[in-house]
């Protein structure tokens, strides 16, 4: 029962880190990731028992919040501050985030949800609010583009 504190805590422990990193990679901005994840979990708390599957719900909600935030900003925000806690940002991660930033929004979402978060195309489509067929197309094109960018 989502309104149960133990379930909320467990949902946070299972999903929050992977969700934050996925949105960090999707948005390019650690602040967008933090805002989306925090707001999604806060809304989960407010809704309580209305939410039957809190894990799936929080992924959908967080990505919609992040997507809306990016649309308002009208751009991917390449920002290396996600690595500010380490003295020297890992150049491989910086390159990866920059390459992801050159994909289209849907390509980036498909690649992150499928290839990082590990969701099947159908579930990725549900999170993205798209169709499985569209996600597969975005995934194929996004992977191809990402491979080219990272191999350059």
């Amino acid at each position: 029962m989502p309104g149960d504190q133990d379930v909320i805590e467990q949902t946070y422990r299972v999903h929050a880190a992977r969700l934050w990193r996925a949105i960090r990679a999707y948005s390019g901005d650690p602040d967008v990731a933090s805002d989306a994840v925090a707001e999604a979990f806060a809304q989960l708390l407010r809704r309580g028992d209305e939410v039957r599957d809190p894990g799936a719900w929080v992924w959908r909600t967080a990505f919609r919040i992040a997507s809306g935030d990016l649309k308002r900003r009208r751009a991917f925000v390449p920002d290396d501050r996600g690595d500010q806690r380490v003295a020297r940002p890992d150049p491989e991660i910086v390159d990866l985030l920059r390459a992801l930033g050159q994909l289209s929004s849907m390509q980036r979402m498909a690649v992150v949800l499928h290839d990082y978060a590990g969701f099947p195309a159908r579930d990725a489509a549900e999170v993205a609010g798209s169709t499985e067929a569209a996600i597969r197309v975005h995934l194929m094109r996004g992977r191809r583009r990402l491979r080219t960018l990272l191999d350059e």
Partner: protein
């Protein structure tokens, strides 16, 4: 290096602890939830003694016998316990895994997945003893003689031989529908297919459409009848031999339902109440305090019906209960799906990561 392997480097990103921020935002809507870690203090000797007296008194009053929330790991009934857990291979899913039990174990697949796993309960631990590659699967059903799968392209396949799927019938694409599958009276019953809201498929492949049936949210079967629960709690009793509706009842919101030889068990009233319907439509309230969860799951062994929420499994019979209570702990963040055989209760967590067997010890 594949993109997926490179993306794995994202796991090296530091993640901020957002629990305080979540609590602050939730607090703005007056929801009192304390997400931050609670300090754990060693109880004083006086407090321990006082707690001990309270526990003894509670035993004396029989209070603990009615407590639905004992500590995780506690087994109230000595005869049923967690026999084993196994981590399943493959990526996680946002959907409940598909389960189909038989006498030797449990078939498990991810919705629209292309792999079937059979978890066996033989030996001291659970193990995966069979693995089949299949077309994307949307529903599963099994008994001791057969394994049926319904594929996204609408084929009902009999995988009894395990290696050579036999196409029993074709029902049209199910890629965008929520199909359900049940076995009753030697026929396979399918809900939500393009051929009709409910159809019965015979072993020879002939298909009978149940006239006047609404599209079921839950479809379940026993030896003589198939039971359909539609939107709004409309329960239809379908005679398995004639494939016609013999009774229709309006029950209101039904959380879950499962059939056994005695009739149909239903979780109603937002999962609080367990009810039973017999084949003639006679209705009986069996229990009124299943627990706190709003999405209780039910499964029947034939002698007992089990309810499950995210933490506790409870067994009832027609005289009431609970007859057995097993605390399964916090393995799931949501209510697990469950399936039953005479030998035990199988459950799979919401992400399909873990399968658990609860069985007589």
């Amino acid at each position: 290096m594949k993109p997926g392997e490179r993306l794995g480097r994202l796991d090296d990103l530091d993640v901020p602890d957002l629990r305080g921020e979540i609590q602050r935002r939730a607090g703005e809507s007056d929801v009192l939830v304390e997400l931050v870690d609670r300090p754990r203090r060693r109880p004083s000797l006086a407090w321990t003694a006082a707690a001990g007296l309270i526990v003894i008194a509670a035993f004396g009053l029989g209070v603990l016998a009615a407590d639905h929330r004992p500590a995780p790991g506690t087994v109230i009934a000595p005869t049923w316990a967690i026999r084993g857990r196994i981590a399943m291979p493959g990526p996680p899913s946002l959907r409940q895994p598909l389960l189909a039990p038989n006498s030797s174990g449990l078939w498990v697949a991810q919705p629209h997945g292309t792999e079937l796993f059979h978890v066996a309960a033989t030996g001291p631990a659970l193990r995966i003893d069979r693995h089949l590659a299949v077309a994307p699967v949307v529903a599963l059903a099994a008994d001791d003689q057969h394994l049926w799968i319904l594929t996204a392209d609408g084929n009902l396949l009999d995988l009894t031989s395990g290696s050579t799927p036999v196409r029993v019938g074709s029902l049209g694409s199910l890629a965008s529908t929520r199909a359900t599958l049940a076995v009753a009276g030697g026929r396979v019953w399918i809900g939500g297919s393009p051929r009709g809201p409910i159809v019965a498929v015979d072993p020879d492949g002939s298909i009978a459409v149940v006239p006047g049936a609404p599209t079921p949210q839950t479809l379940t079967g026993s030896s003589r009848a198939a039971w359909s629960v539609g939107a709004g709690g409309t329960v239809s009793v379908i005679d398995a031999a004639s494939a016609t509706i013999s009774h229709t009842l309006q029950l209101g919101a039904v959380v879950d339902a499962v059939a056994d030889p005695s009739g149909l068990w239903l979780a109603t009233q937002q999962g609080q109440t367990l009810e039973h319907l017999d084949g003639a439509g006679s209705r009986k309230v069996v229990a009124t305090d299943l627990g706190r969860a709003s999405s209780i799951r039910l499964a029947s062994t034939g002698r007992l019906v089990w309810s499950a929420d995210a933490q506790v499994f409870q067994a009832f019979d027609l005289l009431g209960g609970p007859r057995h209570t097993v605390v399964v702990g916090r393995a799931s963040v949501a209510v697990p799906d469950i399936a039953a055989t005479p030998g035990g209760i199988w459950s799979a967590d919401a992400l399909g990561h873990t399968v658990t067997l609860v069985a007589p010890g």
